[in-house]
Assembly symmetry: C2
Homo-oligomer: 142 residues x 2
DNA sequence: ATAATAGTTCAAGTTAACTTGAGGTCAAAT
DNA sequence: ATTTGACCTCAAGTTAACTTGAACTATTAT
C-alpha cells in the first residue's frame, strides 16, 4: 500500500504519516527498492492503536515509548498491560467529566431558551428553574 | 478576591489568570486603586463557563468570541443558544468516541492478561476470544 | 522602618504536533 | 522525449496556549 492510499483510508495527512514514521511509530514499515514506503495491515492496525492511545490522553512521545515496549518483546508484557489499565481509568474519568459538562450545557440551553422567549436575559431569575438544574446553577454561582 | 486566592481555589496558575485577563476573558474584572485585580463571584462563574467551553472543544479564541457576544447583550441571545447547542452535540460525539475507545482498551486488557498468563504473546491466537471482543479485534485488523 | 511577600506590565521563550518548502528521484502518460 | 505526478529527505516554519523573566510597585509582618 502506498502512502497516499493509507492517507485516504485513514483520513490522515501524508505529512503526518511520514512524521509518524520518522519518529519511529512504524518500526516494521517496509520500503520498496526505490525507498518508497510500503504499508501493510500491520501499520493500519498500529494506526488504530495510536489513535486509541492518543484519544485516551497519551502524548506522541508516550506513544513512541509504548511502541518501543512492543519492540522489546515479551519481557514488557506486564508494563503494557498496566499502560492499558491506566488508559482505561483515564478514559472513564474523562467520560465522567464530559457527563458533568453536559449538564452545564443543558442548563445553558434551558437558560437561553427562556431568554429567547423573553427577548432578554433580564428577569430570568424570576422564572421557576427546573428541579434538575438547581444544583448546576448553584455550582456555577460558587 | 486576590489573584492568588482565585488561583488556589480554581487550581489555575496565576500566569494563566493574567493571560486570560489580558486577552479579554474577564470584561468586568475590577481593579483596586493600585491596579491590583479584584476578582468577584462573576469571574469565578466565568471561569467555570470557560472550562466548560474548553472541555467541550472550543479554542481560547472561540471562547473569547463568546465572551464578546455576551458583552453585546440581548441581541446575541440566539447566537449564544446555538453555540451551546453545538457544544452539546460535540460533547455527545466525544462521549460516543470515548465509549468505542473503551472497548478497544478492554480488549487490549484481556489480550495482555492472557499474554501474562502465558508469559508470551505467541499463541494467543489459539485462545478462545470472548464473544464481546470479536468485533473489536476485527476492526483492528482492517 | 525595613524586609519579605505579593502584586503589576510587557516582551520573549516554550512545547507539542504537526506542516511547509526546497530540492531531488522515478515511473507512467502524451 | 518530455512533462506530469507521486514519492522521497531534511530543515525550517507554524500555531495554540500558556510560561518565564526582568524590572517595577504595593502590602504586610516584625
Amino acid at each position: 500500500m502506498k502512502i497516499s492510499e493509507v492517507s485516504q483510508i485513514c483520513n490522515i495527512p501524508i505529512s503526518t504519516l511520514r512524521y509518524y514514521d520518522e519518529i519511529g511509530l512504524f518500526p516494521n514499515l517496509e520500503r520498496n527498492k526505490n525507498g518508497q514506503r510500503n504499508f501493510q495491515k500491520d501499520e493500519l492496525e498500529l494506526l488504530k492503536v495510536i489513535d486509541c492511545l492518543k484519544v485516551s490522553g497519551l502524548s506522541i512521545k508516550e506513544i513512541k515509548e509504548f511502541i518501543d515496549l512492543v519492540k522489546q518483546g515479551d519481557t514488557t508484557i506486564s508494563k503494557r498491560k498496566l499502560l492499558f489499565e491506566e488508559r482505561l481509568n483515564k478514559v472513564n474519568e474523562e467520560i465522567d467529566k464530559l457527563e458533568k459538562i453536559k449538564e452545564i450545557l443543558e442548563y445553558k440551553q434551558w437558560y437561553y431558551s427562556k431568554a429567547q422567549e423573553l427577548g432578554t436575559e433580564q428577569g430570568i431569575e424570576n422564572i421557576n428553574i427546573p428541579e434538575k438544574f438547581i444544583e448546576i446553577k448553584k455550582s456555577l454561582e460558587c
